[in-house]
Symmetry: C2
Subunit: 329 residues, 2 copies
DNA sequence: AATTATTTTGTAATCGATTACAAATCGGAA
DNA sequence: TTCCGATTTGTAATCGATTACAAAATAATT
């Protein structure tokens, strides 16, 4: 492997000059610059970034941690994140937890060992306690999930408004017994959406019934259990909100195979708006999140933070617009 | 940021000793080892991996390049790849091309600049020409797509057998006019599956008709166009094989909204077996690929290669088992 | 031509680890 | 005690870049 030293020797200049050429230092005389570039091309030289990174104490690498990869919701965020990193000239490591908590250490250690300069946590991929120990020392951005009291920027949608709009849509269609299949975690987005949901009920004069709310994982069996559980309590349901497209697809599946005792005329509105909403039969009405942009913006914010000189900026909530897409359900 | 030097000073030993402790060198006396470990803990010291990587000329990082992320087919491969990297103590960078060819350079440059030690190309994320220039100099593994004449290991399923089995299933059910919606690229897997398909036809005494084969992208509009094109030529179709679950879901969608002029009793078998096959209505009969294992094995092979002393091993085709999963279509 | 100012290049320290080799320490045998 | 070998530790070079500072080369000024 050719090094800068060999290039210097071949070009009859010092390593400093070669380095200057590599970094486009305008101080080098055009003649020498050309000579050096010539040699670089001839030798097919590429600088060793391990050395550069060490010297500059910067890896130009960021990490994005996702709960999982199998949900298209996350892939879309990751796609935006990759694009942002590319545009800003950074490398990005996309890591997933897959519900094995200890894997998170791998990614956090990248910060601690200088392999990465900053990190984006998507959804509930990290606990508040851990976050607290990180935000002071490292650059952290949150994506889709807000942690009150944590001093880190958060990029998300207005979940309360989204919950309100989703519920209002069902109410508009005349549904009044609306169940809410929330996400599994007690996250801020779930809480905010429920708030919005309540507000819509309230506005329509429909009493709020807590029995109609339950958390469920992105697993068919789990969703089925939850819905049947609510129905088993004798609750009449004519509308359902789900936290994700996948959950909604499971509801449809359950209805179809009659393992969920709902008529197929129940109103169904989901969150996310991934391609899943378009391949189910019937297709899903959903609150479409700007997933790509959420990923893109998160990484941009993080990199801005890394490059900004003063460390004490707003660190607020950055809300991106969502919209209701009415399809067949 | 604390360095090894400061640890050495605090512990009243040399940096060499600290380094030995960090690397579990059995030569250090237990007493000093404990003393050093104590200081490391007190100072909350973490070694700077940028320095270590430079010195050892190894980043313990590999790259996996995927055509895209939006297809669950690839996410599942990526999931396996991540697990393998984790198990082997490597970092992995998952990169997607998203049909912007120039992005590939980003990942290849990681090899050239010592940021990564090896690379896995999934599907047709790289051209044969480029591959040829890479395999001699770098460690390369191919995943799901084989390039004859290229000296790199390839992890895939037996596509010919899979094509045969898929077609045979439709024939078994009495279908004889079987269209094949191949992948968009002129890849080896497409060719192999078509070979198997032909073999099944041949075995059943059904004449092969090239008009029934067409490539299509993973886009609804494109699949619709292709299928309607075949039908427009007056071809009677009572069975369809698709290269992916997504394509099959588009066929179902087209049938349902009558934008594809097929009866809903047409036999449909897809490849992949992602979760998509389970959320469509009806659910998809498909050739299930061991996607997670394909990703896992690819990365393992790559790392083995990196760690192996002799560079000239078999480099052959590693075939993983697939199976036909009969669902509703 | 001599002096100064400016441009261009080179020398050497540095980033933070690893590791070959040398040196110190220790224990036991003569 | 003295010497030898084994164990343990330290010194310093090294990885390949960047960069402050010094030095050389060139241009401008008197």
């Amino acid at each position: 492997m050719s090094s800068i030293k060999e290039v210097a020797k071949q070009a009859h200049v010092s390593v400093a000059t070669v380095s200057r050429v590599l970094n486009n230092d305008p101080v080098v005389k055009p003649a020498t610059k050309n000579k050096v570039l010539q040699v670089i091309k001839e030798m097919n030289y590429k600088p060793n970034l391990l050395a550069k990174n060490l010297r500059k104490q910067a890896s130009r690498t960021v990490v994005m941690v996702l709960p999982s990869m199998s949900n298209p919701y996350f892939s879309e965020i990751a796609r935006g994140a990759q694009a942002a990193a590319y545009d800003k000239g950074y490398n990005i490591i996309i890591g997933t937890i897959e519900s094995k908590r200890w894997i998170l250490d791998t990614y956090i250690n990248m910060l601690k060992t200088n392999l990465a300069e900053g990190i984006v946590f998507v959804s509930s991929s990290v606990s508040k306690e851990l976050l607290e120990t990180l935000v002071d020392e490292y650059s952290v951005v949150l994506c889709t999930e807000y942690y009150p009291g944590i001093n880190a920027a958060c990029v998300a949608i207005d979940n309360k408004k989204a919950g309100y709009e989703a519920a209002r849509e069902l109410i508009r269609r005349g549904h009044t017994h609306i169940a809410y299949i929330a996400g599994s975690s007690a996250s801020s987005s779930v809480a905010a959406r429920i708030e919005g949901y309540k507000e819509a009920l309230n506005e329509a004069g429909i009493p709020f019934r807590p029995e109609l709310i339950a958390g469920a994982k992105n697993k068919f069996e789990h969703v089925k259990e939850i819905v049947n559980g609510i129905l088993g309590q004798g609750m009449q349901i004519d509308g359902i909100l789900t936290h994700s497209d996948l959950q909604a697809s499971y509801v449809l599946k359950g209805i179809k195979e009659k393992s969920i005792g709902l008529s197929d005329e129940v109103g169904l509105v989901s969150f996310d708006g991934t391609f899943v909403a378009e391949i189910t039969n019937p297709t899903l009405t959903s609150i479409v999140q700007p997933l790509y942009d959420l990923g893109y913006t998160s990484v941009c914010k993080l990199i801005e933070k890394l490059q900004g000189e003063s460390g004490d900026e707003e660190e607020g909530l950055i809300l991106l617009p969502h919209h209701l897409e009415v399809r067949e359900t």
